[in-house]
Symmetry: C2
Subunit: 388 residues, 2 copies
């Protein structure tokens, strides 16, 4: 069977950029990706591009793939927009890997782009709300913070997860984000500040929620056979797995387990021939603080219900045995929806090659990293395992 | 190398269905698909679903793949929304084929769904306009009829294409649509009526434009190795090819050639080891009458500029040597954007198996059929060649 390698990665700064269009954001990521390939990069080699995008605030909804690839000088390729809400980038990565495994194309771009900050708060809630079940959730008045608040409340009830444990996710990820020059929020947050910020939807407060973000990311995938042509240190896609679930939370088997994450992880680990304990570090989908605790549990890093304790023990800190969201995560690095999944791949590509921007953020000796990207409240999830 | 087969196909009626939700439309297509599999169909075999969708009028924008697959009873699969404007379905078909060729999944659904008629005319123009280049086309006031009118005007100027030739496309496709019980417009149109209908954007009039449509379609793909388990008469994906182009028409090499179509066709023919003359019938993307003439030329059925004459000679009539749009095409069958590509596959699956609904529409002895699906004004295009 063929192998799939990543040989280049780029990411725009994540943040609020009123002067940059979605095209310029994507070009920032593309340009860094191109420059990151150690040798022999040639745009003419790129035969396909899979781009994650939710809606760019309604500015450009259709044919975004052609608009972006044309703008960076890649016409006449197999360009496809992949949309699975916040997991669009993770699915773009899986699509790129499958394309190469199918033998259709040998050099493939997987990326994503989103422009969110131009949108009004009302319209922004609409653009996000339409990733939940419109009939049963959005039109009933539920926002995404509302959906995750339901999950958090139930998790607290079932497992005794505490307000402080939720806030510790924010504290950890802001600490890491402060070390990431491309993060939207490069500043630390104190526990008291995180615990007492204004309520968004009980029990979630401002620091439990990720932000709206402009940004883009891109990685260059190729057939493993030709990876060494581009670099001596490729990173390999050891495994990938995805799963959908019922979109409306009330249809699911459990409120406190994202079954999509559980199944996606099981598939990715099976393909990679690895177990959760083999993972050295992970970028997980912390759109809300509770989501990171769910991720620890559903990815198999700890038992169900023990996510809060796992965090408190420092296991997922930069100094822990499985650092999670060294980049700052969605919480501090930012969450430009379609760009998040391949943004995780950008961070992991650099971590596994020892090229993190600041020594303080570099996880030493990491060989295997896991990426976890969730669509909406868990209607879709993608897990990718990278290995050097 | 693996082969990919189609073993089942379903389509909802295409039309204006104020009482049906997108979920119900998709279920109509799914149910017929399931019933069409000759034996051993089991939903539990379906491991992945690729669904084309543009935006369903803004009702549900994100995670449509999870919403649709959950509703028909397919949770926990690799469900992905593919969006390349009007070519979304054609790309969903290609994605499904690549998935199987990659060895990731063996039984895969490719389909699409769109709900367009609930949307006001103003908002509808927005939803369609966002598939062109927003900065250079939509915000300058250009509608999609406007873009194709530019192309038509230039085609008339360069090649002498006539008003009558454009209208003959409508006459032919309405003739075919009148024979299709699932078409949106099941009635003939006379040449004079087609030539004198109200102008939409000069030189295009009402009967030069396809309509807004509600509808869904789905085909069941599987690894060629297991196809005979489901039917004695599978239809095979002999080849597929796609291409993007610059999204804005002013950036393109030519106004009268859809380079995306030309390249997609070349790739599909190469993969299939066939030439245009080998094709027995075709479903092409006639979103506007001029688009069908471009398709004849860019797919290689006739020389550049000769599309009008090719049509006038009756070559593409049901009785011609290469019947085009036996279904009625986008013009008469309807164009529910995300569902169009796999709707073409539905028609071709039935034509190649001799199961067209009415003998008058059945193309006798057809063995090889081509599907052609264009995104927007040609920013993307997908060509698929099916063979029994």
């Amino acid at each position: 069977m063929r192998a799939v390698a990543i040989v280049g990665a780029g990411q725009s700064a994540f943040g609020d950029f009123p002067d940059k269009s979605i095209k310029e954001l994507f070009f920032d990521a593309y340009r860094e990706m191109a420059a990151s390939v150690d040798r022999d990069f040639d745009p003419a080699l790129i035969e396909a591009a899979y781009l994650g995008n939710l809606g760019s605030g309604g500015f450009q909804l259709g044919n975004v793939s052609a608009l972006m690839t044309g703008f960076v000088g890649l016409p006449y390729i197999h360009a496809v927009r992949i949309e699975n809400a916040c997991a669009s980038g993770g699915y773009a990565l899986a699509a790129g890997a499958m394309d190469i495994l199918s033998g259709t194309h040998r050099v493939v771009l997987a990326g994503g782009v989103e422009k969110m900050t131009d949108v009004s708060a009302t319209r922004g809630r609409y653009w996000l709300g339409v990733s939940g079940d419109t009939e049963y959730e959005r039109l009933a008045g539920t926002t995404f913070a509302g959906l995750y608040a339901l999950i958090a409340k139930r998790h607290m009830h079932e497992f005794g997860t505490t307000r402080e444990q939720l806030s510790l996710v924010a504290v950890k990820n802001h600490h890491n984000g402060a070390l990431n020059p491309k993060a939207q929020f490069q500043r630390e947050v104190k526990l008291e500040q995180a615990m007492t910020s204004p309520t968004v939807c009980d029990p979630l407060n401002l620091f439990d929620c990720c932000s709206t973000t402009d940004g883009a990311s891109a990685v260059l995938l190729c057939d493993g056979e030709i990876a060494k042509r581009f670099t001596d240190t490729p990173v390999y896609v050891a495994g990938f797995g995805t799963s959908s679930d019922y979109l409306a939370i009330h249809d699911r088997a459990s409120t406190t387990t994202l079954e999509a994450t559980r199944r996606a992880a099981a598939r990715a680990f099976r393909m990679a021939g690895l177990r959760p304990a083999d993972v050295d570090l992970a970028e997980v989908h912390d759109c809300f603080t509770i989501a990171e605790l769910l991720a620890y549990e559903d990815l198999g890093f700890c038992d169900k219900g023990k996510g809060g304790a796992f965090l408190e023990e420092g296991r997922t800190a930069l100094s822990g045995d499985i650092p999670v969201n060294a980049s700052g995560g969605l919480k501090a690095k930012g969450h430009p929806i379609g760009a998040t999944g391949t943004g995780q791949a950008y961070e992991m590509f650099r971590q596994l090659r020892g090229s993190a921007d600041q020594p303080a953020r570099q996880v030493k000796g990491a060989e295997k990293g896991l990426l976890h990207n969730v669509g909406g409240s868990g209607g879709t999830a993608a897990v990718t395992i990278l290995a050097r």
